[in-house]
């Protein structure tokens, strides 16, 4: 009962946040709606019994990436000053106009028709199996990370180091020579 209510609230939060990101015209509001959508995904992880993944989602995504994006929005001003490009033609506004939205919806429709065929097959032939009870997953994940998936673990640490150094080098102010 409680899990059903949590599932419904999380699903509404996820889908509503995703559609609000599409429909809003303000980049700051889009960041906040993305925050609600990611919170909903974390709630869905909880209903699936993935407690460690839900906690990581909350800490890294909601607390880290969205805050980083809000900082980037604040640092870049978010206004399109010049309305014309270098050829003198009028530019598309920053958050898109009807033309770009039409192209995007047509693309989404094509992808929808392609994927719904696959998903309908899955739904049709999927047999309901008994679902395992909720157990703590932290210990199992910790054991798997240092036994079966240790190579991916080490590679991800190197990737994070590279991303950190790369971001620092790119964003560093350069001296005029």
């Amino acid at each position: 009962m409680f899990t059903n209510i949590l599932f419904l609230m999380s699903a509404v939060l996820t889908v509503g946040g995703a559609f609000a990101v599409i429909l809003t015209k303000n980049i700051m509001h889009a960041c906040v709606y993305l925050l609600s959508s990611l919170l909903g995904v974390a709630g869905l992880y909880v209903t699936l019994g993935a407690d460690f993944v839900a906690a990581t989602q909350l800490v890294v995504y909601v607390g880290g990436i969205v805050i980083l994006m809000v900082f980037a929005v604040l640092l870049t001003g978010g206004s399109d000053a010049q309305k014309e490009n270098k050829f003198g033609l009028s530019k598309i506004p920053l958050m898109g106009n009807n033309k770009t939205y039409t192209i995007a919806w047509i693309t989404a429709f094509v992808v929808f028709m392609t994927l719904i065929k696959i998903i309908s097959n899955i739904i049709k032939y999927y047999k309901e199996t008994e679902v395992s009870a909720y157990t703590a997953t932290v210990e199992k994940i910790g054991m798997l990370l240092v036994t079966d998936h240790v190579l991916a673990f080490e590679i991800s640490s190197v990737l994070l180091l590279g991303a950190l150094v790369g971001a620092a080098v790119i964003a560093r102010p350069r001296k005029r020579e």
């Binding site: 419904l8 699936l48 019994g49 993935a50 980083l68 693309t107 899955i122 620092a168």
Partner: protein, 101 residues
């Protein structure tokens, strides 16, 4: 209500929303928001299949690596956006034409 198909539909809607945001927007940061939505849809699929189909823990490991890669991608992408804004004073994607000529 909590079946595999409902989770698949939610992640499907997230994926489509990410595609629409990525194509319709001309703001670099807004396009990054679309990429985050698509990555979340993929991770949700992994966890849902782990719960309902094979029930080993590998489907919980992969979303962790997806989150790590998304964090690295957001850090580097936003550094590039801020650097671009320092040079061109705009974040319109159509102004990034220096490699064209």
């Amino acid at each position: 209500m909590m079946t595999l198909s409902s989770y698949l539909m939610i992640s499907f809607i997230l994926f489509l929303a990410g595609i629409v945001v990525m194509i319709a927007r001309k703001n670099m940061i807004a396009m990054l928001l679309g990429i985050e939505l698509i990555l979340n849809a993929a991770a949700l699929n992994f966890v849902a299949y782990t719960k309902f189909v094979n029930q080993n823990m590998d489907g919980h490991i992969f979303p962790l690596f997806i989150i790590v890669v998304a964090a690295a991608e957001a850090a580097v992408g936003l550094a590039i956006v801020i650097r671009f804004y320092q040079i061109k004073e705009t974040i319109h994607i159509d102004d990034a034409t220096q490699l064209q000529s």
